[in-house]
Amino acid sequence: MLGLFFVSRGAILPPVPITFQTAQFEGPLDLLLQLVEKEELEISEVSLAIVADQFVQYVKEGQGKIAPEELADFLVIAAKLVYMKSKLLLPSLVDDALEEGPDLATQLRLYQQFVAASRTVNGMWESDQVSFPRERRTVRQLEPSFVPPRDLTTTAMRELMQAVITRLTPIIKLPQAAMQRVMTIQDKIASLAQKLRTHASFRFSSVLRQAKDKGERVVSFLALLELVKQRVVKVAQTDLFDDIDVAAHELDRLADLQLEFV
């Protein structure tokens, strides 16, 4: 489990046994909300840190049930949760990428409100209160006529058809694209390991600086946590608020590293 490493360094959080049986969940926020509500907790930074391990466990166990195009979203939330938990234990740990945007607790509270509202909307949807527009049948009784578009050429039609096909591309390719996003974690781990082979140790901030976007920084962080967990690397901090030094630990373990997230 991703979170275990931090717990072992002196847990300030009560351990929560994973007893919550697999329920239906629709997305990462839905799962997170269910976990928090199950523990009868208010949504807060602390309560999210408490359910972090359960969340990670669920994602690992539920991978088969999670649609491939959604897996990356689960991973992003998992990274945020692990990060929040790490911060409670290691206050100097600050990652701009994971600090960016609204905090997870705020996001989840908002989501919770819309889930509540959606139940009301469902009630309205299923109640029989429907209004109707006028059926457009009368127009059909008009004389059938032939009114062609003025400037439509066959060349323009070819372009229109090509545009339609282009628009279909992401729909067809979506699952593959999502898998690629997930695969980048594996790539990232490989590149971190490569760096360790050539540098023996490096500062984590240098990795983050190279990241092209927020997503990649999240992935870098997740990759680092995975390497720490698998004892491939050691991390050290000389002083509070210092950068994290990453050093090789048992690099040979890398060969048979089983990636539980990929």
């Binding site: 006028r134 049948r137 127009v139 059909r140 006529s145 062609p148 439509l152 066959t154 229109l160 729909i171």
Partner: protein
Amino acid sequence: MTMKISNDNIQISNKILSILFAGARPFSIRRLGELCEASTKDVEEAMRVLETQLENLPLMLQTSGNDVQLVTRPEYVDIVKQVVRDEMAGELSRPSLETLTILAYRGPLTRPELEQIRGVHSSLILRNLMLRGLVEEKEDARLGQPTYAVTFAFIQHLGLKSLEELPDYESLRGHEHVVDVLKEMEEEAEAKEKTQEASV
């Protein structure tokens, strides 16, 4: 007592108005009576009430034999004509042109198939294209759905002898993305059928 009867009439009159409005076609007085659970006499009485209610509005009841229909008053014919003319003769919107093109390259298609390719609900657009004589319903249905194709008049208007003369006809018609998205839909439909069979 009188009060109550008159209230009932208003009720029936409103029922009638809602039917005539939404149904948008002539209804016989007998049929209106059935739908409103009222006698012919009550319906006729309610129609008189309705006429008074519509007095200051641009709508009126038009009767022809035993049939009654809700129509706009003749004074408004010019403005209504313009609305209809707009729809008929105005330039086709891009979504309409796109629909027409898809049916030309890939037709005949059922409405769900067309929608799967466009990614958008398309019943209004189809109706409009049919109204303009550009698209027609074909006799051969598929999966219990009618299929649609462009009309011969439209093909002629393009100056073509047949649709195969469209540029890149073969490659665009058989493009893998179009084929894939239709196949995906078919599989979903089959899976759905199986679940329904299983649950019966």
